[in-house]
Subunit: 142 residues, 4 copies
C-alpha cells in the first residue's frame, strides 16, 4: 500500500447515528476532508480546490462498522484516472494499525469554473501536481 | 416514472457548503431520509428499520447543481433487487415540476441484527412489503 | 402565543445521535432553518439574509427529549429587540398539537456586510419588515 | 488561562456554510467533541458519558469569524459549577497561537439515566474526577 496517499481524519462523537455507529453518510464527509487536506495551500496543486472543484460521482462499499474513538481513522487515496478537466481517486477508510478497512470506493471530480458554470481544463501545474501522487493505472487524458 | 415511489424532502439552508450549492455529501442524507419516510411506522415493513438496517454500498452521480430553496426536492426510489437479507434501491433526487434530475444512483441495504452483529433474513412480512413497491427488474433471492 | 411566528421544520432520521434523541446541536440547525424560511424571497425583508447576516449570540434550554418522527416540529419566533444593525429573536422548538416545548432560548443576529467585514445598518425596508413580525417588547434602536 | 483544560479540534471543510465561514451551529459540535475527548475511556470519570449525559442549556457569543484551515482550533473548558446531578462548563473556541477567541459561552450538563428517563446523581468517582479539573468558582452542590 505504499502507493497510497494517507491522511488522518479525526472522528467526532456526533458522527454516530441512533444505531451507535459512524453513519454511512459521514464516510463521504471523511473523504471530502481527506481531499481538502491533501491539496496544498500554495504552489502547484493549490488551485485545484480554490479554482473550483465538484464531485461528479462517488461510491462506497461499507465493510466493517466504525465506532467513535479518539484515535483518527486513515483515509487512503490513489489517483486512478486523470482526464482533461477531471480526475478520479480510489479511496478507502481504514485503520492503519489493525489493517481493518471500514469502507472503500472512489470519487470522480471535475475541475469547475463557478463563474462560467462550466468545467475548466486542468492547468499544467495542476496536472503536474496530480502526477506526483500515487497512480494506480495508466494516466490517459479523456 | 409512475413505477417510482416519490418522497418530498425539505432542504435546509445549512445543507449548502462554501461553494453555495447543496454539498455532495448531503445528497446521501436526503436518500437516508427518504428511506426513513417510506418505511411504515406500523404493520408489514415497519420492522425493516427498527429491526436493524445497514447500508452495504451506495453510489451517486451528480447531474445538476442544487441551490437552497424553500420548496422540497423529490427523492424517487425503485426496488431493483431483493435478496435473502438485502435489497437494493435505485434512487434519484429530482425536481418533479421541471423534471431536472440533480443526482441519481443506488443504495444496497442489508437487514442486520445489531445484537448478534450479523445479517438477518428478511421476514415474510418484510418481503411482502417490499413487493408492494415498484420493482424495476426481476426479484431473485440471492 | 398568538404573537409568535411559527414555522414547520421536518426532522431527519440522521438528526439523532447515539443516545437516540435529536442531538442538542441540531436544535440550532432547526432555528437557522426557521429563520431562512421566514425571510421572504423578494420584497421588503428579502435582503436580510442575502445582504449578509451573522449570529452574534444564541442560547437554548432543553426541556424535553425529541425523537425522530415523520411529523414536523414547530419553531416559534418572536422579535424581542431591534437595534441599529441587529435584532434578537426569542425562539422555541415545540409540538403544536400537544403543546410540548422541547427547547427555548434566543438568537441575536447582526446584519453584516461580508465585503467590508463590518456590520451594516438595517435599511428602512428591513426595519419595516421586522416591524410586521410579532414583537414581545418595546423596540428601541440601540 | 492556565486553569483551563484545552482540547485540539480539527476543522472540516464541510463545516463552512454558504457564507464561507464555519457555521455558527458547528461551534456547538466542537464543544461536544471537546467534551467527548476530555472524558476518559476508563477509570474515574469514564462513566460520565457512557452512563448518560444530556445538555440542559448552552450559550455561545460569536466574537470572530473562523475560516477553514488545516490547523486545529482549541476548545478551552473550565468547570464553573458542580451540582448533585449536573455540572457546568465555561467554554471558549480559540486559537492558542494568536490568542484570537472565536466564540465563548457555557454548557450546562445533566447526568441522566436513559433507562429510567430521569437525572442520576453524580457518583463519588465522577465528582472526584470533576474536581481534578480547573474550577473557576466555588463548587457547591445544588
Amino acid at each position: 500500500m505504499s502507493l497510497e496517499h494517507v491522511v488522518d481524519i479525526d472522528l467526532r462523537w456526533g458522527d454516530a447515528d441512533a444505531f451507535g455507529h459512524v453513519n454511512n453518510v459521514v464516510f463521504f464527509r471523511y473523504l471530502e476532508e481527506a481531499r481538502a487536506r491533501v491539496i496544498p495551500d500554495s504552489g502547484p496543486g493549490s488551485t485545484i480546490l480554490s479554482g473550483g472543484l465538484v464531485v461528479a460521482e462517488q461510491q462506497l462499499k461499507y465493510l466493517a462498522p466504525l465506532h467513535y474513538r479518539k484515535a483518527p481513522v486513515q483515509v487512503g487515496m490513489t489517483v486512478d484516472h486523470v482526464g482533461g478537466s477531471s480526475f478520479r481517486l480510489a479511496c478507502r477508510v481504514f485503520d492503519a494499525a489493525s489493517g481493518t478497512v471500514f469502507a472503500e470506493g472512489f470519487v470522480a471530480l471535475v475541475t469547475y469554473n463557478f463563474t462560467t458554470g462550466a468545467p475548466r481544463k486542468l492547468s499544467e501545474d495542476e496536472r503536474a501536481w496530480l502526477a506526483t501522487y500515487p497512480q494506480e493505472a495508466s494516466t490517459t487524458p479523456s
